[in-house]
Amino acid sequence: MKITKKRLRESAVAYSLLWPNLLLFICFSLFPVIWMLKYMFFRYGGIGTTETFTGLENFMRVFRDEIYWKSVLNTFEYALGKIIITIPASFALAYILNKKIKGSGFFQSLIFLPTIMSSAVMGLVFYLLFNVYNGEINRMLMGIGLISSPINWLGADHAMHTLIIVAIWGALGNYMVYFLAGLQQIPQEVIESAEVDGATGFRKLWYITIPMMGPILKIILMLAIATAFNDMNMILVLTEGGPYNASMVMTLYAYKFFFPVSAANTVVPQFGYGAALSFVSAIIAGVITILFLRFSRKMSDM
């Protein structure tokens, strides 16, 4: 389009309203991406140190880094465990609470409650609840005779399971609300005509409701994958990725090359390596999402 006086004037008005957001976007959304794309090729220890261009050295190190690939596997386990339980359970909840049963709204607001909580603060609470000797969970389970000796919830064998349980706790309400929105979009006539044809209960659920939820389920799953790959607050506070990296996930592993886990600790920052780790992790997350999209398209073609 030709740049006319009128267009210049309009642009000036537009930018005069847009700049506060645009500035924040450039500083805090765009700049970090560019920063990563640059420093993943450098060795750099922070302000006051020299930065050295090292080419692909950081990436070579990523591929040799066993702890990192362990953390990738852990991330898969974490995401899979979280999604496989959260999605069916939250769908069941939405399905039940969408039927105008008594107290539906009350149930909804209780189940949504974890969503508004700080996952870091609740991480501290879960740290106490799951404590091996003094924690309430072991005391309760032993009280009702389900276990005879305390389970080391935050130990190497169970840390990942504990994180998955806690992640489900935080996510149920969120996905329940997504599914509720999806269920409310199914036209009432479809359900009614199925009823006229004699469909009841589970047949109605299996043949009408679930297939009609298909496209929404796809979006919800994509969101769930992206979120699970990025979770780190709760993990940082609850296990710090330990013990011995048993519950280390990709984002947290990269984090540890930038900052300490608490004000009492210190790290020798390796920003370049952290950037390379983050880049590889973003690629892995992207590939998984694309694979999922292809897979789900094939599913809906069948």
């Binding site: 309009e10 924040l24 976007f25 607001s109 409650l113 909580m117």
Partner: protein, 284 residues
């Protein structure tokens, strides 16, 4: 006979449904109830076991948390940060959403596609350090203002949300206002802005919650400047204090202090919270 069996089936479904819903509610609510009740117990009751309710209500846990851990100051910080982020988020998303939806301007395509591209990239923890360098270049890395700006950030999803909402407002309204002699700015602030209230309420609620609950950004910005710690950071950092093992009661009092304000907000605005989550999906 047929009707009987349908009735029995419905009865069975309802029973299972209620049991499932109640179990899930207990699962989600228990940790929160534990926190609040635990904040009134003694350390021994918490670590050695005791009844569900505190044997005596130890309100002094709270005064201990407030006095010894400086929570009054950190609470003030949290309020300033929460309100600051809310105001800035509402202002920047409403102006940007309006411009993206209504105006055509030089560079729009480029800027809009940058926003669109970054929605889908999960950056994880790598953004924290560059964020910090921006603030330190601007010499605001030791102030609440810096933390507020970092937490507001690009607001990409909210901008897209607001912009979608502006599209549903008829353009005749703007045109009529301009014909009546309103300036472009007055048209936005006096005609459009009030109409955005429903969607801006969602932005306000969620950005306040995010700021109040944030841990990582607030933590890294306050590492070298403890006086700008927020409540969330101060509470979580208690885990790493030397006498943490003897202070479960104070930790839970701290956690309660950080949870209760948002809980009260939720009691009044739970409908908005729940509906707001899918605000962008309404029109699919």
């Amino acid at each position: 006979m047929k009707i009987e069996s349908i009735k029995t089936r419905r009865y069975i479904f309802l029973t299972i449904a209620y049991i499932f819903a109640i179990v899930m509610c207990l699962f989600t609510v228990y940790p929160i109830v534990y926190t609040i009740l635990g904040s009134f117990k003694t350390n021994a009751e918490l670590t050695q076991g005791g009844s569900f309710l505190p044997s005596a209500w130890h309100f002094e846990n709270y005064s201990k948390a407030f006095m010894e851990n400086d929570f009054l100051r950190y609470g003030m910080n949290s309020i300033i940060v929460g309100v600051g982020v809310l105001v800035l988020a509402v202002f920047t998303t409403s102006t940007a959403g309006y411009v993206f939806s209504r105006k055509s301007f030089i560079g729009k395509k480029l800027i809009f596609s940058l926003y669109g591209a970054l929605v889908f990239i999960a950056m994880g923890s790598v953004t924290l350090y560059p964020t910090y360098t921006v603030l330190s270049t601007l010499h605001i890395n030791k102030s609440l203002l810096g933390l507020i700006l970092a937490l507001v950030g690009g607001q990409i999803t909210n901008v897209l949300l607001v912009s979608g909402f502006v599209t549903t407002i008829p353009t005749e309204l703007d045109e009529a206002a301009i014909i009546d002699g309103c300036s472009q700015y007055r048209t936005f602030f006096q005609i459009i802005f009030p109409l955005l209230r429903p969607i801006l309420a969602v932005v306000a609620l969620f950005s306040f919650r995010t700021a109040w609950n944030d841990y990582l950004t607030s933590f890294i910005i306050s590492i070298f400047t403890p006086s700008i710690k927020t409540l969330t950071v101060a509470v979580v950092q208690m885990k790493y204090s030397i006498n943490a093992a003897a202070e479960w009661h104070v930790m839970l009092a701290g956690a309660s202090i950080s949870i209760i304000p948002i809980l009260i907000l939720y009691i009044f605005a739970h409908k908005q919270f729940i509906n707001g989550l899918t605000a962008g999906a309404v029109k699919g």
